[in-house]
């Protein structure tokens, strides 16, 4: 990962601002919380780079996102394990014959296209993320010479948003095609799962679209490059995770039935 250049001094100056909101609280001091507890030394500068000021907030948000993604992963693991259980379940009919009602659902081929679109969207999201951390530009932007990084990231994120919306539209088309073939949610155990998985994933992606929009707004409105980096970074990691998750879910639906 490219290094993040936001000199610690900015953060410190900003902190002074932050505590000075006119309500007469403690005088601005150099606050040293969140030092991550390594060692007993008082010397802030002995810490590894990643533990100092600006990077600290980024890594906090990132960690929060990752814990959240872990929860999302567990959600889908639960559903996928139910998928395997149900696929293997059957019952004995009146003639003591074992019947398994599972009939594989044919996957509309547009899903291949959707998958490709989602991969592309992840690539463009990654371009946005990287552009937020390109050293020279970040320096310029920090000094206030240009907003090149944010502009570039805005372009890439807009593309991601468009591709994401295209994916969701594509999923809609797939549901439509299945409905035209009279395959509905309640038709068969396998269609229960097809719809449950695709809809649950779409809901999560919808949250991602919301995050993209929030990040785009943040890129325009936020005054700090560090915060803009956080917006983009967190959104993009979430987006990647949803893409990766889709690859697994799609493989399951396409080959696992």
């Amino acid at each position: 990962m490219p290094p993040i250049v936001t000199p610690p001094e900015i953060e410190r100056r900003h902190k002074v601002h932050e505590s000075d909101n006119g309500s007469g609280r403690r005088p601005p001091t150099d606050k040293r919380t969140g030092g991550n507890g390594e060692g007993d030394s008082d010397n802030w500068n002995d810490r590894p780079q990643g533990r100092r000021g600006p990077r600290e907030r980024l890594s906090q948000v990132r960690m929060g996102v990752f814990f959240g993604l872990f929860a999302v992963l567990m959600f889908f693991i639960a559903i996928v394990s139910a998928f395997f259980v149900t696929r293997a379940s059957g019952h004995f009919d009146a003639y003591s014959k074992y019947v398994n009602e599972w009939l594989p659902t044919t996957i509309p081929s547009i899903l291949w296209l959707n998958t490709a679109v989602l991969i592309l969207s992840s690539a463009s999201a990654e371009m946005a993320r990287r552009s937020m951390f390109r050293e020279e530009d970040v320096m310029d932007e920090w000094i206030g010479l240009s907003r090149r990084t944010s502009q570039r990231a805005t372009a890439w994120l807009t593309l991601t948003l468009a591709l994401g919306a295209l994916f969701l539209a594509g999923q809609w088309v797939a549901w439509d095609q299945l409905a035209a073939q009279h395959v509905f949610f309640k038709s068969n155990p396998s269609s229960h799962f097809f719809y449950l998985i695709t809809v649950a994933h779409a809901v999560h992606l919808f949250v991602g679209v919301g995050a993209l929009i929030a990040a785009l707004i943040g890129l325009r409105r936020s005054h700090q490059i560090a915060s803009r980096q956080i917006f983009v970074d967190a959104t993009v990691w979430y987006w990647h995770a949803m893409g990766l998750l889709w690859l697994f879910l799609f493989a399951l639906l396409e080959f696992g039935q």
Partner: protein, 571 residues
Amino acid sequence: MNVSPATSVALAPHSRWTHHRTVGFGYLAISAVAVGVGTVLSLLMRLHLSWPAWSLPLHGPILPEEYLGLVTMHGTLMLFFVLTVAPQSGFGNLILPAQIGARHMAFPRLNAASMWLTGLALLVLLTAFFVPGGSPISGWTAYPPLSATALAGPGQGEGMDVWLAAIALFSVASTLGAINTLTTIVKLRGEGMSWPRLPLTVWGWFTAALLSVLAFSVLLAALAMLFCDRHLQSSFFVPGGDLVNGVLLQHRGDGSPLLWLHLFWFFGHPEVYIAILPGMGLTSMVLANFAHRRVFAYRLMIATTLLIGLLGILVWGHHMFVAGLNPFAGSAFALSSMAIALPASAKVLSWLATIWRSRPQLTTPMLFALGFVSLFITGGLTGPILAQPILDEYLHNTFFVVAHFHLIMAMAGVFGLFCATYYWFPLLFGKMLSERLGKLHFWGTILGAYATFLPMHLTGLAGEPRQYAQLTGVPGPAGQLLQTTLPLQNHITYGALFLACAQLPFFLNLVLTLRSRLRASQNPWSATTMEWAPQAADELATHRDPCHYAEDGVLFLGQWEPDATSELPPE
């Protein structure tokens, strides 16, 4: 000042509504409402069991479906909204940041949002009393197929839908809260607060938060599938050709109720540890505090906390021995369940070793911590018994199980909460709760707890089933067997009433203390953990492990104190 969205992320900790103290008290308020309602429900159940013909004023006799509604709502309120919310989210927010030397939680707004979401979940749940058909009747575990269709009983229509919505909201809120807790502990520890120096309470919160992230989303998935079964005619959990109340369910496929049990208990067992782990951590710290000792085998206690968390994920099948689980799987789950007794016993041994021959100060928080140990042992002894599939075949769904989990989870959890309240009251309100009323409260509560829940072992062994609305008037030998338990039933009911009344000194204490003008000293318990440091968090650094006491038991060194005085032996 121009506040952009980004700066307000940083500013958020200063806003009153997102301050972790506000959020913590908000959570405690939610729990207070839940515990009040839940207690009333439990007393109604007891009165009905003892005197089935008794009619509730303004309501009339309690019908069987109403009794089951009481059971469901009592369990749901207590387990989710009291034992999960108060120790983990309530005291977690109030104390955790100070205890790790941080000024705030990692994501204050998210934190406030999850508190309000939890409150909303409680509101939604409470509406279940008022919807047509009344509250759901399938217990806090909501087993299908009876929870999958409105045909199963009066509360299983809208009442069950409301229940599902409430628990879904609760799951989301708890997951968000846990993400916040975890990030705070990993990233916001103050200067010098390295992992091994974290107080065991923090380790308890940390492990419980890990379990929450893992378990609640599995529950959410199960709830979503149950919702589909109820309203979209899917058959995740509904077996093919299922007849409920004489009606054939029109669902396609061969769903499996056992699948729900797997998903539910994969959540459910970690959930009971989420409820107890913070209390275990607090007990260790409070015992050491008042015994003026180090915690015995501190590092090992950190390890056992994590190990209990880990093993807790692997034992869910012990709730399903008689549900049609493969017997080989049953043996595996029996083994893993017994394995968890090892770290649990190590904890008990450490508690005992910490206070062994220490001449502890028997303050009220100390008494409640000792009560926690006592209840944990009494309730824990029945765990490995229930974990034998062959014994569980008889004991499952009897009051023996009710006795087990009320002692080890409900009562121990509540003792943990009281311990926390008495211990941290000076920190939170600057005043000391009265010791005299506190001791009265303790002795009444522990007596009531044992008087209520110990006899349940006996009625359970005699065969009294759980969740039966009425024990009298059952025909045949089963009825005669139940008849023999009736004297004990009445004893239990009186015990429960006594237990409820034993809380009066506590409320009196709260009122009197809050009205009095006596201020507590800054660190009245001679505590050594960071939340008692005299300085503000900004100027703090951690310099050592918790619980440094001199041999004479008077002098102590807080974690915040820069260097050791000569009286104390070095680390």
